[in-house]
Each structure stands twice: as structure tokens, then as C-alpha cells.
């Protein structure tokens, strides 16, 4: 299976041979093609054009270097680490339908247990989608971590409550709560999510310590709306940028970083347990244009 080529390939230095009208057009197209969006693209191109006008950039190689630096700087916002000092640290996973929440919860759990020897509890608060509970249960088995579910048709808040309660009782290091996919336009479902968060905060005042939104790398400009409305509903702390193993570059994450200041924290590069990586702005910037 193809996995990581997309991340490791570098921009060929021949992408921009020199600096002329055509160069700027090519650059613009490359950014648009990566889903960076027309507005963010225009600003980046304009800045580089100005630098070139001032004589700070002479030639394609310099342009490429400066461009990657600029893109990486845009992507480098906020704190991209996940703080695990609270006991237990509570992590809430949110996002629109099918973007990779449940899979990412499974991957993170495995990583925490295997690499950091943490005790982890997963809470199956997607009580809506068919077989969502069974799906998370299978991930908990693969990851070798504990699992909490409610009776059929239970309220997501009560499952989240139970999972955190068990985490506290068992002195777990991390509790992760998976939630149902929902479109950011569904007000009632967004209110439900806010309630899940409040229920968690009732048990541990600072919790959830981390609220991650999954953004599918194939998402276009709608990703910005998704991040904005989820952030308004539950104070999102970071992004898991999933499905970067395809040909999509995930450029919308750049627009999100620039306009909303939400950092990407992790990336998904496949469907297996080990297909999760920390986000590296420099690698991301290079891969955007490759």
C-alpha cells in the first residue's frame, strides 16, 4: 500500500526556473490546486511578488526556498503539542461525517499505549451512526486499551460522563471520547456537542483538555467553515489532518491556520494503527507543492 511518498517528496527545484509573469501564475495554480484557497493564495503570491520587486528574491531556487519557508510559517500557529500532564487528560474528537474521527481515536490510543505506556480509556459517544460503537470497540481491541459504551440509544453526554468517570476511577492517563459525525450547519447537533463538553467539564473543571477536529485532506474550501463553526461551538484546540496518503494536499489547513489560528497537531496517512504522525510544518509546506 502506498503511504508516505506524498509527505517525503520535495519540491523539485525546477518548479520555478526564473521569476516572470508565468512563474507567478504557476505558483498561484499550484497553491489553488492544493486547496489553499483563492484568498490565502493571493496574499502569499502578493507577498512574494513584493519581495521579488524589492530585489530580495532573484531566481527560482530562492523563490522556492522562501515560499516553503513562508508556507511553513503560516502553518506554524499556536501550540502543536498535546499536553498530557493532567490526570486523566481528556481528549474530545469532533468533526463532520466520515472525516476519520473514530479511526484517529484508535490510532492515537495505540500510540499512547505503545510508545508512551499510557493507560487509555475510549468512550463511544457516537450513539447515532449504525455500528459506530462496534467500530470503536474493535479499535480499542487493536490498540489494547479500555472501552466504555452505553446501553443502546443512550445519550452521548451520558456515555462521555461514564468514560471520564471510569478514567478517574481507574487512574487512567488519558480518556478519549469519540463523537458522531455532524455537519457544522446542524445547530441542534452542534448544541449537543457543546453539551457533551459541559458534561465532561462537570467532572474535571479543565476538561476536555484537548478538543481535536478531524479535517479530511480532500476537503475544499468548506473546511474553513467547518473549523470555524466547530471552534465556535466547542473551542477546538487542534486539527487532525486525515487521509494525507492520497493525492490531496490538505491546503485548507493553511487557510484554517491563517484565518482561525488553529494548529494542525497530527496527520493521518492510512487506515492502520501506525498511520499517524506529528504535524511538521516544514514537511507539510514542501509536500503542498510537490
Amino acid at each position: 500500500r502506498k503511504t508516505r511518498e506524498a509527505l517525503t517528496s520535495e519540491i523539485s527545484s525546477t518548479l520555478f526556473e526564473n521569476l516572470d509573469e508565468e512563474t507567478w501564475e504557476k505558483l498561484e495554480e499550484a497553491l489553488i490546486a492544493a486547496d489553499v484557497g483563492a484568498r490565502t493564495t493571493a496574499e502569499i503570491v502578493e507577498q512574494l511578488e513584493q519581495e521579488a520587486d524589492r530585489g530580495e528574491l532573484t531566481g527560482g531556487e530562492q523563490l522556492t526556498a522562501r515560499l516553503t519557508e513562508l508556507l511553513a510559517n503560516v502553518a506554524r500557529v499556536g501550540d502543536s503539542r498535546i499536553d498530557l500532564t493532567a490526570g486523566p487528560t481528556v481528549l474530545l474528537m469532533v468533526g463532520v461525517n466520515g472525516t476519520g474521527k473514530t479511526t484517529s481515536v484508535g490510532k492515537i490510543a495505540w500510540h499512547l499505549r505503545k510508545e508512551l505506556d499510557q493507560k487509555v480509556v475510549l468512550g463511544a459517544a457516537d450513539t447515532f451512526r449504525a455500528a459506530a460503537v462496534e467500530q470503536l470497540e474493535e479499535w480499542s481491541r487493536r490498540a489494547g486499551v479500555d472501552f466504555v459504551k452505553g446501553p443502546p440509544d443512550s445519550d452521548p453526554g451520558s456515555v462521555a460522563y461514564e468514560a471520564v468517570a471510569q478514567g478517574v476511577r481507574d487512574r487512567a492517563d488519558v480518556v478519549m471520547v469519540d463523537t458522531a459525525g455532524r455537519l457544522h450547519t446542524q445547530d441542534n447537533l452542534m448544541a449537543e456537542l457543546a453539551k457533551v463538553r459541559r458534561v465532561i467539564a462537570k467532572q474535571i473543571p479543565d476538561a476536555p483538555h484537548e478538543i481535536l477536529i478531524t479535517v479530511d485532506a480532500t476537503t475544499g474550501q468548506n473546511g474553513l467553515r467547518q473549523a470555524k463553526l466547530f471552534a465556535e461551538a466547542v473551542d477546538v484546540t487542534g486539527i487532525v489532518l486525515t487521509k494525507l496518503d492520497g493525492t490531496a494536499k490538505g491546503g485548507i489547513a493553511l487557510a484554517i491556520a491563517r484565518e482561525l489560528g488553529i494548529p494542525v497537531k497530527l496527520i493521518g496517512i492510512g487506515e492502520q494503527l501506525e498511520d499517524l504522525r506529528p504535524f511538521d510544518p516544514d514537511d507539510f509546506a514542501k509536500a503542498l507543492l510537490s
Partner: protein, 307 residues
């Protein structure tokens, strides 16, 4: 601030009124707005280029003395061209003269295949009084079979599954034999999500096709997809020559430029719109409505009528 492209074009071309003809500068200014609106809607940039060239040619050739002001005129041209590109009439599924009709569902991970499989089963049962079976050929994703058992059952379809130990191609072949034996009108095959660049899984899909000779192959595309939609569609078209598209998650606020991109690069019609998580949120696709959605031009006709 102007929200819709229609309003932006009105504003851009406001002072042309009464001048009689659109100059090249007027048209270029209008094209910039159109280009931005289309890119914002996630229409692929190559498709945008072709499209604006076509619109530009028509706009330059047209005079503006008629009933419409220049802004309205350009809006109308854009709307006409976009509707033409999207395809005029909504198209239909094909049905086999020797049942079962076999429908193969394919697409990227999480695009909405399993949900669409159940929705289509329900739709065919209700609209065509068909007896429907669905086959569970996703043996990879955790609980994918359970999911289809649940939603297929809710749709009133028989769910053919053999767990996760069998090979998807073998399951598909077995399901087809069983559907024939049991006299089903329709068999819908749900498959695992796969990346268009995943050679093994794309080969598997081609083998499922070879083993079942589907009447229709449907590509399920998420309405929120960005610029990559054309790569995905082109690759799936090359490997399995799909017949039509299901656009999913159209209940959100994505403009859905992916629809235009996919239609434009593959020529395949979009047959169905999936508009929610519930099984009855599924309908035939209307190209004209999509054209207006992409441009945020729901008010085009009112604007033109006001002229």
C-alpha cells in the same frame, strides 16, 4: 458586501449600463469575479479556466441593448453555460433486462457509500417496487459489515454477508449467484473505501466488476471535496469506467463545485443527491439547481425577472 455572484456582477458592471456594448475590460472584470466565485466553490481550476474562456467569448459577442442590463446579461450567460455543463435533464439508472440489476458502489473512504447503498435500496423498493439485496464486500474497515447489516435491514433489503474472512471478489460473486437464485430484482454491492492511487484496492475493484458485470457502477463523491475531485474521478473512470455519480452530504453548506468538476472531466452524469444521514434523505439529482448552488445564484432568476 455582496453575497452572491449575481450581485457582484451587477456591481462590477453597473456603469456599463446604457453604453450599449461590453468592452473587453468590462468582461475581464466580470471574469475575475466569476473565477473567484468558482474557485471558492471548489470547482477545479482547470475547469474554471475552460469555463471562463467560454463565458468570455459569449459575453464579448453579445450586445447589451436588450431588456437586461450588462450585469444581468453576464449572469444569464454564466447560468446558461453552467447549466449546459452540468447537463440539462436529470438522468436515470439503467436496469438490466435479465435481473438482477447489479449496482456497484465505489469511492474514497468515508464518502458515503454504505449509507448510499441503503438509501438506494430503500429508494428502489419504494419507487420501483423492486426486491433488493445488498452485499457486504467491505471486509477491511472495522464493523463495516455490521453497519451495512443495520442500515440495509432498515431499508428493507436482504443483506448478504459472509463476515470479514472471505475475499471481497468471492463475496461479490457469491452474492450475485444468491440474488439470481432468490429472484431479486436488484443487487447493490457495497465496497470498502479506497484511494484512487491504491493499486491493490483499485485492482480489487476491477476484479469485482469483472466477476459481477454490473449494470451500473456508481461513484460516491462527497460534496465537500476540493480540487482533488478530478484526480479521483479520472482514476476511478480509468479503472472501472463508472456510469454515474452520487453526490453525498449535500445537506451542508458546501457549494459543491466538485460536482461540476467531476461532470466536466468524466462526462458522467450525477444521478442522485444524498442529503442527510437518514435513509429517506436521498433524491434524484437536478443539474439546474446545482448550477445555481455552485454560484450562489439562487436569486438569478428573480434578478433577471426584475429587469
Amino acid at each position: 458586501m455582496f453575497d452572491s455572484l449575481a450581485e457582484k456582477l451587477q456591481a462590477t458592471l453597473a456603469d456599463v449600463r446604457g453604453r450599449g456594448t461590453l468592452t473587453e475590460d468590462d468582461v475581464n472584470a466580470a471574469m475575475r469575479e466569476i473565477r473567484l466565485a468558482l474557485l471558492e466553490a471548489d470547482v477545479n481550476f482547470k475547469v474554471v479556466k475552460r469555463f471562463t474562456n467560454a463565458v468570455k467569448e459569449r459575453a464579448l459577442g453579445s450586445d447589451v441593448i436588450g431588456q437586461l442590463n450588462p450585469g444581468q446579461q453576464v449572469v444569464k450567460i454564466v447560468n446558461d453555460e453552467l447549466s449546459a455543463l452540468m447537463g440539462g435533464e436529470s438522468e436515470e439508472l439503467k436496469f438490466s433486462s435479465s435481473p438482477p440489476t447489479v449496482i456497484l458502489m465505489a469511492g474514497l473512504q468515508g464518502s458515503g457509500k454504505t449509507t448510499a447503498t441503503a438509501k438506494l435500496a430503500r429508494y428502489l423498493r419504494e419507487q420501483h417496487r423492486s426486491s433488493v439485496a445488498v452485499a457486504a464486500c467491505d471486509v477491511y474497515r472495522p464493523a463495516a459489515v455490521d453497519q451495512l447489516v443495520t442500515v440495509g435491514g432498515q431499508a428493507g433489503a436482504d443483506v448478504y454477508e459472509r463476515g470479514t474472512d472471505a475475499d471481497p471478489v468471492a463475496i461479490a460473486k457469491w452474492a450475485l449467484d444468491r440474488a439470481s437464485r432468490e429472484g431479486k430484482d436488484v443487487l447493490i454491492i457495497d465496497t470498502a473505501g479506497r484511494l484512487h492511487v491504491d493499486e491493490n484496492l483499485m485492482t480489487e475493484l476491477a476484479e469485482i466488476k469483472r466477476a459481477t458485470s454490473p449494470t451500473d457502477i456508481l461513484l460516491v463523491v462527497d460534496a465537500m471535496t476540493g480540487q482533488d475531485a478530478v484526480n479521483v474521478a479520472e482514476q476511478f473512470a480509468e479503472v472501472v469506467q463508472f456510469d454515474g455519480v452520487v453526490m453525498s452530504k449535500l445537506d451542508g453548506d458546501a457549494r459543491g463545485g466538485a460536482a461540476l468538476s467531476v461532470k466536466s472531466v468524466t462526462g458522467k452524469p450525477i444521478l442522485f443527491a444524498s442529503t442527510g444521514e437518514k435513509l429517506d434523505q436521498f433524491e434524484r439529482f437536478h443539474p439546474d439547481r446545482m448550477a445555481q448552488r455552485i454560484l450562489g445564484m439562487g436569486d438569478v432568476l428573480t434578478l433577471i425577472e426584475k429587469a
